[in-house]
């Protein structure tokens, strides 16, 4: 009896989740199938699967021939991974300080650091550009990394501080009595316990950085610093758009971020199950 109701529930839950997954994945699916079709076939029937009669790799050929797409990929990866690293490192350290130490203005400092969640960093674009010009960082990846680190920090600090409050005080105190430094306590005791939160923050932070068009366009539009999203724009013209190439470029752009996501989601799941059996 109870086995049957739980089976029914399982089916219902899976049906809902599958429906949601299909809705979420549909645009990606359309992009990927159309990237393998000829231009005429894309417009004739956008939902048709690539078949021998409409199969065409012209998009990928264009992308690989035109521009330096490998360089763009490399730029995107460098910017995303470096920003992610700094966001996680500085975010976690700030969160630890805010959640662990009592000092004057602790709450105020926390609010100040979280303010960035509500104020879009793009409002400051002009000022940022002026700073980058003044420091000679225009058209460097460093400029992008700095801006994205700043953009990702508020949410990271906010989420991680909440999680770090839940880490056992006794554990940290035991470390102090045993003579561990505050850095060792942070890196070896606290960080492993908030790994699921770190993975969540990593995913939240990574996607907007990878997809961003705004700051690469403004701060680093030079050929040698273009990111993938910016690079793909060369195929979108004011009058004609090379849809094959755009779709192919976008399909290719999905791959690296998918790999990163898989890495983090494994951490996420491992963290959750580790907590469950403890």
């Amino acid at each position: 009896m109870s086995a049957r109701t739980s089976l029914g529930r399982t089916i219902a839950a899976h049906a809902i989740l599958l429906t949601y997954t299909m809705i979420a994945l549909f645009p990606v699916f359309v992009i990927v199938i159309n990237s393998f079709k000829s231009r005429k076939a894309i417009f004739a029937d956008p939902l048709a699967l690539p078949m021998p009669d409409n199969f065409d790799l012209v998009g990928y050929q264009t992308v690989l021939k035109q521009g330096d797409f490998f360089l763009y990929f490399q730029n995107s990866l460098i910017v995303t991974v470096a920003s992610l690293f700094f966001v996680l490192l500085f975010g976690a350290m700030a969160a630890f300080a805010l959640s662990e130490y009592r000092f004057k203005g602790n709450t105020l400092m926390g609010l100040y650091l979280a303010l960035g969640i509500m104020i879009p960093i793009r409002l400051g674009t002009v000022a940022i550009l002026e700073i980058m010009v003044a420091t000679g960082l225009v058209n460097t990846l460093t400029a992008l990394i700095l801006v994205y680190t700043a953009q990702g920090l508020p949410l990271a600090v906010f989420i991680l501080a909440e999680f770090m409050k839940s880490v056992s005080h006794d554990l940290k105190n035991a470390g102090r009595i045993d003579g561990l430094s505050e850095y060792r306590i942070f890196f070896t005791l606290v960080l492993p316990l908030v790994r699921p939160a770190m993975a969540t923050v990593a995913v939240f932070t990574m996607i907007p950085i990878w997809n961003d068009l705004w700051f690469p366009l403004i701060l680093a539009p030079a050929e040698h610093t273009k990111t993938v999203t910016l690079g793909a724009q060369v195929f979108i013209g004011q009058f004609v758009t090379n849809w094959n190439a755009v779709l192919a470029a976008l399909s290719l752009a999905i791959v690296p971020v998918l790999v990163l996501y898989l890495i983090f989601s494994r951490q996420l799941i491992r963290g959750i199950t580790a907590g469950a059996v403890k």
Binding site: D170, I177, G179, L180, V277
Partner: protein, 332 residues
């Protein structure tokens, strides 16, 4: 080697004063237990001794040396926590050896020390496991082992047994008593549990709202409580408090322990009605209500049959009663 002294120690969190001036001296080798209601500051006081919280005022001395500004790791003490607080990423052996490793002790010496502690607590078969692979009782023994390895001057325990089940609690309690005899170290122990306090302590410190109410050996507190708070706190079931004036005594309260009340169906000085009976086999607890004095507990040896709402009479053993003035202080 390990005498602890507190002089006028205070602690405030923001504007709330949690510890309001504690003076205490614990002799070398003594087993000192802090008891008191939840939130009275037992853990805070213990953490201050450990150096995990700064004292707002007063001095903390170990062997006559002021410790206020010494880092926790340098105070030569070990602490056992209620939640075990084992390092999840280290094996039992590494958990126990970490403090010595941090202090720069040679590997071979660490092995000798951990092996000796493991032998004392029967942990040898578990040395290679991680905390996640241990039961609650085993984890707590490892936590105690971790404390022993350091051969500290001072052991601090914060409710170490309260997460264990009843049988394991008794076993571990006996183990801690044995350790104290063997190590002859000074121990400060926080607990809620009456039995732990009475059986383990050389001296009990009763705390209330950040103040010391009374310090003494278990039997001193039991037989000679200074006020109604201590009288009510030490001893289980709780002492009965009766209205003194209606017994023909000076105004205030009269305290009498449940075992010093006699009950009779025919005659006695306080008429009452039985409201509940608890039979524990070896003893019987009768709860009887009197309109003037409220609910009174009587503890009888062996099995007795009393019906709920039966009329009974209670008598005080006058020589065993305690008299308190209206402020709750003992009349001497």
């Amino acid at each position: 080697m390990g005498a602890l002294e507190l002089r006028g120690v205070t602690k405030s969190f923001g504007s709330t004063e949690v510890i309001k001036g504690v003076d205490l001296s614990v002799k070398d080798g003594e087993f000192c237990v802090f008891v008191g209601p939840s939130g009275c500051g037992k853990s805070t006081l213990l953490r201050m001794i450990a150096g995990l919280e700064d004292a707002t005022g007063g001095d903390i001395l170990v062997d006559g040396k002021r410790m206020n500004d010494v880092a926790p790791a340098k105070r030569e003490l070990a602490m056992v926590f209620q939640s075990y607080a084992l390092y999840p990423h280290l094996t039992v052996r590494d958990n126990m050896g970490l403090a010595l490793k941090q202090a720069g002790v040679a590997k071979s010496e660490i092995k000798v020390a951990t092996d000796r502690a493991a032998a004392m607590l029967g942990l040898e078969p578990l040395m290679g496991r991680r905390p996640a692979e241990l039961s609650g009782g085993q984890r707590q023994r490892v936590a105690i082992g971790r404390a022993i390895v350091r051969t500290p001057k001072l052991f601090l325990f914060d409710e170490p047994l309260s997460n264990l089940d009843a049988a394991l609690r008794v076993a571990t309690r006996i183990e801690i008593a044995k350790l104290h005899r063997e190590l002859k170290a000074t121990m400060v122990y926080v607990t809620h549990d009456q039995v732990e306090a009475m059986t383990l302590a050389d001296r009990i410190v009763v705390l209330r709202a950040g103040r010391v109410e009374q310090v003494g050996s278990p039997m001193e507190l039991y037989n000679d409580p200074a006020n109604t708070f201590v009288a009510g706190f030490i001893g289980s079931p709780q002492m009965n408090f009766l209205d003194a004036a209606s017994l023909g005594l000076p105004a205030g309260k009269v305290g009498i322990r449940p075992e010093h009340l006699t009950i009779s169906r025919d005659q006695g000085e306080i008429p009452a009605e039985v409201s509940h009976v608890e039979k524990l086999g070896g003893e019987t607890l009768v709860y009887a209500r009197n309109p003037q004095h409220g609910l009174l507990t009587v503890r009888l040896f062996g099995e007795h049959d009393f019906e709920v709402s039966e009329k009974v009479h209670l008598t005080l053993q006058r020589e065993r009663m305690f008299q308190f003035d209206p402020d709750g202080q003992r009349r001497r």
